[in-house]
Subunit: 138 residues, 2 copies
Amino acid sequence: MVHDALHITELLRAEGIQPSAQRVAVARYVLFTDDHPTADQVWSEVRRDFPVISRATVYNTLNLFAEKGLLQSHSFDDGAGVFDANTEPHHHFIDEETGRIVDIPIDRLRVSGIHELEGLDVDDVRVVLRGRLKDGPR
Amino acid sequence: MVHDALHITELLRAEGIQPSAQRVAVARYVLFTDDHPTADQVWSEVRRDFPVISRATVYNTLNLFAEKGLLQSHSFDDGAGVFDANTEPHHHFIDEETGRIVDIPIDRLRVSGIHELEGLDVDDVRVVLRGRLKDGPR
DNA sequence: ATCGGTGCAAATTATTTGCATGAAT
DNA sequence: ATTCATGCAAATAATTTGCACCGAT
């Protein structure tokens, strides 16, 4: 996984995003984690390396990235809204004890019965699983 | 569908909820609609009949009902959190144009592939469908 | 008089907006 | 000099907390 500023700069430019120092700092964390952080978690995390950045800028940057398709934002029945660097369509598993969210590739699950539903024109299917993560070998 | 105050009073008492005037007013609307209103929509709607009630009371009442199992609360990727009088486990369809949310009975869909996922102990499965509601005979 | 429960004002948290500043032409 | 983009202070929206009030004992 490459985290160098040059790489990130190019990545942002490729989306037409001006790579300001703040945006690079946010990108460096949020585009390369498989956590599913809330906006506030991003703010905390980013300030470790880049101490002077406001919450508003973090929110605006996350929204900008989401608009440009670098991030998805999700919101589940329990917690606050989270951001997800995985921009492919995918499903989610939520550990009910820890709150940890894990991505499930879209083709690992199949949903049947959709065609039998009347009056609905379905173009997107997402599954949310809940349960416990068995702590296996990491 | 019965909306009389007597009925509602009993319903609330059965859950150990003191049926104050405010709570009955909220219950009268939210427990008998198949809309999926936000807290603010509930507030607006309730004030038609019961003009003096604060937002805080509506929030607290909705949370109380949800704790007692009279309501579920949901939150989807787009909009704000909504409340749902359907307390059975179920799936959802969201009309991408209107935002309208429709419940899908749990047994109308089947999700396969869950057993093949390793390291996950799954005890709940929810599906969110998106698309368009074909306007059939209403 | 005291206690427990209620509703709401105020506080807190979450998010968006609008404007002062600085860079580019 | 003008324009345009940026980051943040302040505004707004969303939600929770804590306390004054009231009814029952």
